[in-house]
């Protein structure tokens, strides 16, 4: 903190000061009552008025504000105010010297933006090493009821206690600064920074989860969450962090921000979807307010379809996935929308280069219920007109998304929330094709608290994704439709037997309706043949139990098991193939018909989950986790990236459910009072029943898709290193990931063997990945952010020779994915200018200036091989966004 020089200087001052023997007059200075003013101002005034000389380091007292309603001694106001921050004051003649007696007492007001609780505020500082006591009661912040069995943890488990039957606790500590966490099931954990000056009494309030939160006292997740919790492979980003990350076209992107986290990658810039720990994009469960989202992108993936003004928090589970989740083998991305506070009208929004958005929260009954309405629209056509292609210039893109949320508290024990969401995209390509895709989601949940130990949540959810492609050219007009619908209902129970035993459990039923494709044509005007693939119906039942068990402060477990059962049901037909023949049209021997509701294929099984934490000490922990998940719906697509016209397919007689097993081990350590978090995780993931595609597979409108697929296994493994700085002016993180993702296709027939039956890299296998994210708070209103990303180029299949057919030169390709496109790297900057924070101001506005791809790196989006007449065939690199993109966005809040 202070330089050695400064310490020497202070020492000299003491020495000089103590030589002055005259009786101090300074201590008798009295001040008239005054209103709030910065301490620095008080110092300047008294310096002049009483000819005082102050000695201090400005940064210590920068944000301290003082006031006094009555006449007060200068000495007292300085002692009490500064004492709170661990700063001592010495008076000698007309010298006033601020100094720090012990670093442990010192609370740097710059470093700590959070509020600090001071115990023994009105008492003198206790002697070093002397034991002092904090007594208090933990209460429900809403109804002031004392809470029994609240876990009180000091510095993440170094010490601690539990509240007694009256909600009282008693902590004995030596003076200093501590982090004390109050944890209670069903309540937001409350993490408080506490300065123990002396013994004292102070009560603490904790708040029910999702209930009205006092924005000042709740500090969100505990600072040492990463070492105290049993979770691993979990990343959480709040919208505040996401908004600071420089974004393409200034569009804050919830999904793309994940790409900066270890273990998360994408196949290309501007591509929809993301890959987690070597899994394909359809292996990620994206939940928006508990409803599954089947397509999360606008404009073919350039922008994600979540309005940032409606998003509160984003949690990504990559490993050690809780038993409550299933159905996707690689990850769960849980996006929760803004919490309704029911207190006052709120309006916020933003204007950017590509979209504008607005969100309003309107209380219906004060403190009881309110609605949220949000929307976002694009005017991206100007972007299309700048494209150097006539067809694109004549294309029209439009998209919007709308959120509606209603919440109500029914008394103190019940809460109902309805959240719904609609995202719509339309893209008219030149004059010939119209694309439309739409995502609809809704969820209705009812939370009920039986008693402080037991609560339940009942949820009904609906998810829907459909796309339409319309051909507008006669005589080839058509309309192609495909999509799916997912309806579910479930119940979750949360039971806290004691602070050491927490149980959760639940049941969930899903009904899926998939329509893999229908080609409609106007028979009078089109020469195409209409075609309709059979719809698929299926149901799934899943139940889970989970037990969080704290053996002692060092060891805790989360054990869980989920059981899922899936049934593909009629009406439908299944082709039967000749025994001993590969699945091809010519081998079809029979067609089996199933009537409505008749089971066509059934699958199920247990999915065990286990996480273990072992604390090595208060600052470090070892963790282990295992999870098994079954996935019954997959995307059928033989392209590397997600497109809006991908087809979802449920497991059937031939396509077995995907099975994923993941094992991970991690070491977590915090430094400097949890200001730095570090972790190293290794994982190994094995996938069974992975599908890949036969050479030249035709998958659109195929009525027996099994004929185009090969089934095999996959493996992925990697190491993720992560360092995060959480406090201070400079915050951010650095992550490095080494990872591999490979496939093995070794079917019994020649066409089911890929790369001679040996492991080959998956389309998204990118071994090295580095990201650096930094945010520097220049002043309260001005901040600067930068991020840098690097990753190995993705694999491609490249021509190794050429030959001639019918006078046409044809490439002979290598085995699958044997080469790589050039490595990717990029640097982005953004500056945020926040509006003044004066309370009286009606409109608060922030300006965000960003530069995407600062050094205009022409990253390879793809490498392709082409023969242009008159020159030999050649490899070409296509760069997307290969220049620097400046943008400006204005965000406001009422």
């Amino acid at each position: 903190m202070q330089s050695a020089f400064f310490r020497v200087f202070l020492f000299c001052l003491f020495f000089v000061a103590s030589l002055l023997s005259a009786k101090a007059q300074t201590e008798l200075i009295q001040l008239d009552p005054f209103k709030e003013k910065p301490l620095i101002q008080l110092i300047e005034e008294t310096e002049k008025q009483y000819n005082l000389h102050y000695f201090f380091k400005e940064s210590w007292i920068k944000d301290i504000v003082v006031s006094s309603p009555e006449r007060v001694y200068l000495r007292n106001i300085l002692l009490t105010t500064l004492g709170t921050y661990g700063i001592e004051v010495l008076f000698r003649e007309n010298y006033v010297i601020f100094y720090i007696k012990d670093e442990n007492y010192f609370v740097d007001p710059v470093r700590l933006s959070e509020e600090v609780l001071v115990i023994g505020k009105d008492k003198p500082l206790a002697a070093l090493g002397k034991e002092v006591t904090w007594v208090g009661t933990v209460k429900d912040g809403k109804n002031q009821a004392p809470l029994v069995g609240v876990n009180v943890l000091v510095n993440g488990g170094e010490g601690g206690t539990v509240t007694d039957s009256q909600g009282n606790f008693r902590l004995v500590l030596v003076p200093g600064v501590y982090e004390v966490t109050f944890k209670y099931i069903g309540y937001e954990p409350s993490k408080l920074k506490v300065l123990m000056r002396n013994s004292g009494k102070l009560d603490v309030e904790v708040f029910e989860r999702s209930a009205l939160l006092n924005e000042v006292t709740i500090l969100g997740e505990a600072a040492d969450q990463n070492i105290t919790s049993t979770n691993m492979g979990t990343d959480q980003l709040d919208i505040g962090t996401i908004e600071k990350i420089p974004a393409f076209m200034g569009e804050v992107d919830v999904i793309k921000s994940l790409l900066l986290l270890p273990g998360v990658s994408t196949v290309g810039e501007g591509a929809a979807g993301f890959n987690v720990r070597g899994g394909s994009a359809d292996q990620n469960m994206v939940l928006f307010d508990q409803s599954a989202v089947y397509n999360s992108s606008h404009l073919f993936g350039f922008f994600s379809n979540f309005n940032p003004d409606v998003v509160d928090k984003v949690t990504l589970y990559k490993g050690g996935i809780p038993a409550a989740y299933g159905d996707r083998v690689s990850s769960v991305l849980d996006i929760s929308s803004t919490r309704l506070t029911h207190d006052k009208f709120k309006l916020r929004g933003g204007i950017g280069l590509v979209t504008s958005r607005m969100v309003a929260e309107v209380p219906l009954v004060k403190d009881k219920s309110s609605v949220l309405i949000g929307g976002r629209i694009t005017y991206s056509d100007w972007l299309l007109r700048s494209v150097k292609d006539l067809d694109i210039q004549r294309s029209r893109a439009s998209f919007y998304d709308v959120n509606f949320k209603w919440g109500a508290s029914l008394g103190e024990k019940d809460k109902i929330t309805l959240s719904s969401y609609l995202s719509n995209d339309q893209f008219k390509f030149a004059a010939d094709t119209m694309y439309r895709w739409q995502t609809k989601n809704a969820s209705l949940s009812w939370d009920h608290t039986f008693n402080p130990q037991l609560s339940a949540q009942v949820v009904a959810a609906y998810g829907d994704y459909f796309y339409h492609v319309e051909g507008l050219v006669t005589p080839f007009g058509f309309e192609l439709t495909s999509g799916l619908r997912d309806m579910s209902a479930g119940i979750n129970l949360f039971y806290t037997r004691s602070s050491a035993h927490v149980f959760t459990g639940g049941l969930k039923l899903n009904y899926y309706q998939l329509s893999p494709g229908e080609l409609q044509v106007d028979e009078n005007n089109s020469r195409l043949v209409p075609k309709q693939l059979e719809e698929e119906q299926s149901r799934e039942m899943a139940g889970y139990v989970q037990h969080e068990f704290t053996l002692n402060p060092k060891i805790s477990f989360v054990t869980g098991v989920r059981y899922s059962y899936f049934q593909n049901m009629g009406p439908g037909t299944v082709l039967r193939y000749q025994d001993g023949e590969t699945r091809q049209q010519h081998a079809v021997v029979d067609t089996l018909s199933y009537s409505a509701g008749e089971p066509v294929a059934s699958y199920g099984g247990f999915e065990p989950r286990l996480s273990v934490k072992y604390s090595l000490n208060a600052l470090s922990a070892l963790k282990f986790s295992f999870n098994r998940i079954r996935q019954y719906l997959q995307v059928i697509s033989n392209t590397a990236a997600v497109t809006p016209v991908d087809i979802w397919k449920s497991s059937d007689s031939y396509i077995r459910p995907l099975l994923g097993n993941q094992l991970s081990v991690g070491y977590f350590r915090n430094f400097k009072n949890n200001a730095f978090e570090t972790s190293a995780e290794v994982y190994y993931k094995k996938l069974e029943n992975v599908v890949d595609y036969k050479d030249g597979a035709e998958i659109l409108l195929h009525n027996a898709i099994e004929q185009e697929l090969v089934v095999g296994e996959g493996r992925a493994y990697g190491l993720e290193l992560f360092v995060k700085k959480k406090t201070g002016r400079l915050t951010g993180w650095t992550s490095y990931t080494y990872s591999r993702s490979e496939r093995l296709m070794r079917g019994p027939y020649e066409e089911e063997v890929i790369n001679n039956g040996s492991y080959y890299p998956a389309n998204f296998d990118q071994p090295h990945s580095l990201s650096v994210v930094a945010d520097y708070q220049i002043t309260r209103r001005l901040s600067f952010s930068a991020n840098f990303v690097y990753n190995t180029g993705r694999p491609v299949t490249a021509p190794e020779a050429k030959f001639v057919i019918n006078g046409t030169e044809v490439a002979y390709f290598s085995d699958r994915n044997q080469y790589r496109i050039p490595d990717y790297h990029r640097l982005d900057f953004s500056f945020t200018v926040k509006g003044g924070h004066r309370k009286k101001k009606i409109l608060n506005g922030d300006w965000i200036f960003s530069l995407y791809n600062v050094y205009a790196r022409q990253n390879a989006y793809s490498v392709y091989f082409k023969h242009v007449e008159g020159s030999p065939p050649q490899a070409y690199k296509l760069s997307v966004l290969g220049t620097v993109f400046p943008s400006i966005t204005y965000n406001f809040e009422l």
């Binding site: 073919f300 006539l390 492609v469 020469r527 497109t643 020779a801 001639v804 019918n806 490498v863």
Partner: protein
């Protein structure tokens, strides 16, 4: 239907249009390539035997000393003899017979034997007419301005048998009238020059079409050059092919459409029908087919397209640009065929039978 990958590539590729050649080192391979087909037309049939070439290297490495023959199911053998560049031709004209099954046999100089899978010649469908219309097409030039190009759009009408698999491939061959620029009476004034559909590949899956008649199907668009100055005769050849052949040609066509973007399928090799007799694991490329053939011809007279040709290669007032004297007025650098049209490649002074 436009593929979505096509649009995405245009959309994002066009945004900056940043495409540049890069060095891409790939290991080379050396494989045998056999390709060709016979038809039910009475003609000389050809098959080419070669080895693959480096991807960015020169064209084909023809094998000149292989033994090539076509065998039918009755044991009739037709030998093909080497001409140039690995092309083997039957010594006499012959016609394949509908319903008969043919196999190609190749013995390479090292004694290895290769055979195609047996191919049954099936003739179905008919090409009903070939015609053209003047057509304007818009495109963007280098400086991002809309330009209109004028040209000729050829169309075909054809018939498809109902309720049975019907796959087609088309090629074309053409003859145009070429005039001696510096004419004297010892030499012919007009010649007839042939050109063909090298690099052209059009296939169709007739089973996907509901009608038995396909009308006004776009065949190709051309910007007429000097060939169209006097008269141009296009002969479209329609082949009835097997599903196996369709898959093979179609995979080549798909490969040509593939831009290698992340929205494209993984590129795949075309599986041909040539197998090594001694080593079934050896990869051999190419396809041997036996197809039914029909053709139709159309004529374009220069006078029918008065505003065309308008290209640089054609000079007004009856002068080919490449026959013009240089700026000093010298004729030294002018090609010899400007003095005698017979000297142009694939040219003859004999008026073809079909010339009107």
């Amino acid at each position: 239907m436009r593929s979505i990958s096509f649009i995405i590539v245009l959309l994002i590729g066009g945004m900056l249009a940043c495409v540049e050649p890069i060095d891409f080192e790939a290991r080379g391979v050396d494989l045998l390539v056999v390709e060709g087909f016979i038809t039910d037309e009475q003609r000389v049939h050809t098959v080419r035997v070669s080895r693959t070439a480096a991807y960015s290297g020169d064209a084909v490495n023809g094998i000149t000393t292989a033994e090539v023959s076509v065998v039918d199911e009755l044991g009739n053998i037709t030998c093909l003899m080497h001409t140039v560049d690995g092309i083997y031709a039957s010594e006499v004209s012959f016609a394949g017979i509908e319903g008969r099954t043919y196999t190609l046999k190749v013995v390479t100089p090292d004694g290895s034997e290769y055979r195609s899978t047996p191919q049954t010649l099936q003739a179905f469908g008919s090409l009903d007419s070939v015609y053209f219309a003047q057509h304007e097409r818009e495109y963007l030039n280098e400086s991002n301005n809309v330009q209109v190009e004028k040209g000729i759009q050829y169309y075909i009408d054809y018939s498809v048998p109902q309720n049975e698999p019907a796959y087609f491939m088309w090629q074309w061959e053409a003859t145009y009238q070429f005039r001696t620029r510096y004419h004297d009476k010892n030499k012919p004034l007009d010649c007839y020059v042939e050109e063909n559909s090298r690099g052209f590949l059009k296939v169709a899956n007739g089973t996907a079409i509901g009608d038995t008649k396909v009308v006004r199907e776009g065949f190709m668009f051309v910007r007429p050059d000097y060939q169209y100055w006097l008269a141009y005769s296009l002969n479209v050849k329609q082949y009835s092919i097997s599903e196996e052949a369709f898959d093979f040609y179609n995979s080549i066509r798909k490969q040509q459409d593939n831009s290698g973007s992340i929205f494209d399928p993984t590129p795949a090799n075309s599986t041909g029908n040539i197998i090594s007799s001694s080593n079934p694991d050896e990869k051999v490329l190419g396809f041997f087919g036996a197809y039914g053939a029909t053709d139709k011809r159309t004529f374009v007279h220069g006078r029918d397209i008065p505003n065309l040709p308008a290209d640089d290669n054609v000079v007004n007032k009856g002068m080919y640009s490449f026959c013009q004297p240089d700026f000093k007025g010298s004729l030294e650098a002018v090609p010899d065929f400007c003095f005698d049209c017979r000297l142009r490649a694939r040219s003859t002074a004999v008026v073809p039978d079909f010339w009107p």
